[in-house]
Amino acid sequence: MAESTLESPLPVVTPKKEHDSALLRVAKYMAVRLVTMVFTVILGLYLTILIANMGGYVDQIRRGEIRDFVQQQVRNDPGMKNLSATQRSKIIEDRIVNAEKRLGLDRPFAIRSFAFLRNAVTLNLGFAEFITADNGSRMVKNIVLERLPSTLMLFGMTNILLFFGTLFAALSLSRSYGSWLDRLIIALSPMSAAPGWFYGIFLIVIFAAYLHVLPFGGMVDVPPPDNRVDYALSMLKHLTLPALALALNQVAFAIYNNRTFFLIYSSEDYVEMAKAKGLTSRDVERKYILRPTLPTNITNFAFLLIGIWGGAPIFEGVFNWPGLGRTQLVAAGLFDTPVIVGTTVIFAYLLAITVFLLDFVYALVDPRVKIGSESRSS
């Protein structure tokens, strides 16, 4: 080909930015998100405190704590052993009053709440009234953090599997528009109306109560097996019905949603261009349908997870799964205030971290973040 005799093109109007490396841009973005998230968490926890303390329950927790602490202190002080009971009581009461004053419990509500807020943010969640952790600790933080992995395992694993499974199933389904499978999925999609715990009840009735093939609930057999393999198998067996319940709620709808999504996006002009360019259909699917829709899919996944975490108490309740949600139910039944409030705090943190992580993944897949264009349409 001849070299073109090129005159300079017309002046270019481009939003020309100094190109920092993509890494730096992502880091800056995440830093901004982190700060925003911190504010959001603080606000959220403050709201939680407000709701809890409208009836003075957080005050109650703190007062109980102080009383316990002072009583312990006096009881264990060898110098006080010789005093009479009434003298000891007076010392205890005085100390309590002082402690309360020092910690600001006699100050107006607004100021008190900030003290509680600081505690909540630093996970200083107090002592439980009735519940103990498996390792014997009475600290709410320990009780709650002990239960967290079970919840994560149940919902985290299942949801990630479901997410990827439905994504690829939907992609392949979008190829066979109008087929019987397509119409079946469309017909089944309203199944999402019933939540996971509801299908759980049906599943338990059928497989546990009637057929006796799967357990009613819990995470492992009782007594738990010694060796790791059996333990893992036992957990898998107990995971079956919950996972199935979640799947019944989500699968048809998720595949339908994604498939509709892909079909809509496959009528985008750039998809047609890709076909016109003679790319293989696999390439078209991967680079022109899946990749551009990834940001939206990530956002949807975030909402999905938040919805599921948010409903954890009842799901774990139905399956008697020893996680965070069930702990809160038990605490509610026992009216163990510190644990009730503590689990809410931990859940809030959990949700915040989930959102933050998914924001990070979003930053990786949406080039507008990497390049730093102004308004990201949310």
Partner: protein, 318 residues
């Protein structure tokens, strides 16, 4: 088929079904294209022009009802190829496309350079570095700065995106490029520069163009042959010189009369009425409702008549 023709289209038909009925978007299109020539397909909105581009490249919608005809690309009939053969041998290597609004035609999450390089890697089997150097050359041809290779589409202006689309269409050195309204979304200055690029490419690279547009004035610069499309059919094919001088078909005449001229005292005319809907087409000549020369014979479908090397679909030339 004569050796100097790169493309011959015979009786191309594309109908698709909608809730309201069957849309006969392309209903018997025909024309030839020689090497290094540009055919301009002229027509109003709604005459089926864009569907023509899709019909040639086999970009069929989900609801296609009828798709037939013969297309000869350099002596090979391509309508009868199976899809995989068509993808490998016709798409982009034989015929490429510059779409209407390049804003949407570029994948927003892929870098521009990657998208331009794709056809080269897929069809010509070149390695990535080789493809990149090809992209740079193409960018030079169209006037896009080299460092735009690593930009994303949203960072480019409309004119730049269109140039990128043209570069993309060139990268596999096809025999022929279809341009679907390449400048209708751009301002006049950019339009002019794009057309300059096209003119230069025609001369330097010897590519054939099919330029689909409604803009008579600008396309007249590029055209060697003019094919006029109305209501899904080609109603006149003529060499450019004689066409712009003296169009044959009444519709073409009205079109030319509607173009304002710089140095003329006559007012531009307009055509009364509207083009027929592609769903409920009337019997007989499709232009008869708006034709000033209508007579009884027009109630029959007119065939294509030859007239001194030009073709007209009109009973006036029987």
């Amino acid at each position: 088929m004569p050796k100097d023709k790169v493309l011959r289209i015979e009786d191309l038909i594309l109908h698709f079904k909608t809730r309201q009925g069957t849309v006969q978007a392309v209903d018997g299109v025909f024309f030839d294209l020689r090497y290094e020539e540009a055919v301009v397909v002229l027509g109003e909105s709604g005459c089926g022009k864009s569907s023509l581009a899709k019909a040639i490249l086999r970009l069929l919608p989900r609801n296609v009802e009828r798709y037939q005809g013969k297309i000869y690309l350099e002596n090979t009939e391509i309508m009868s190829m199976d899809d995989e053969e068509f993808r490998k041998n016709v798409r982009w290597v034989g015929i490429s496309l510059v779409p209407q609004a390049a804003m949407n035609a570029l994948n927003p999450v892929l870098k521009v350079g990657e998208q331009v390089a794709e056809p080269a890697m897929v069809h010509l089997g070149v390695s990535k570095p080789e493809a990149v150097s090809m992209v740079k050359k193409m960018f030079q041809h169209v006037g896009v700065p080299e460092d735009f290779i690593n930009r994303y589409p949203f960072e480019l202006s409309g004119g730049m995106r269109q140039r990128v689309a043209i570069a993309m269409s060139l990268v596999t050195s096809p025999n022929l490029i279809i341009l679907d309204e390449p400048t209708s979304a751009l301002d006049v200055l950019t339009q002019a520069s794009i057309f300059n690029v096209l003119k230069r490419l025609k001369k330097e690279l010897g590519i054939g163009f099919i330029l689909i547009t409604h803009d008579i004035a600008t396309s007249s610069e590029l055209a060697d042959t003019v094919a006029v499309m109305y209501a899904g059919q080609i109603v006149e094919v003529s060499d450019a010189y004689r066409f712009f001088e003296k169009p044959l078909h009444p519709y073409s005449q009205k079109l030319m009369a509607s173009v304002p001229r710089l140095h003329s005292s006559t007012e531009p005319e307009f055509i009364t009425g509207r083009p027929p809907s592609l769903i409920a087409l009337p019997k007989g000549c499709r232009f008869k409702e708006r034709c000033p020369f209508r007579f009884e014979k027009c109630d029959e479908d007119p065939p294509v008549f030859q007239q001194e090397g030009r073709q007209v679909r009109c009973w006036l030339y029987a």
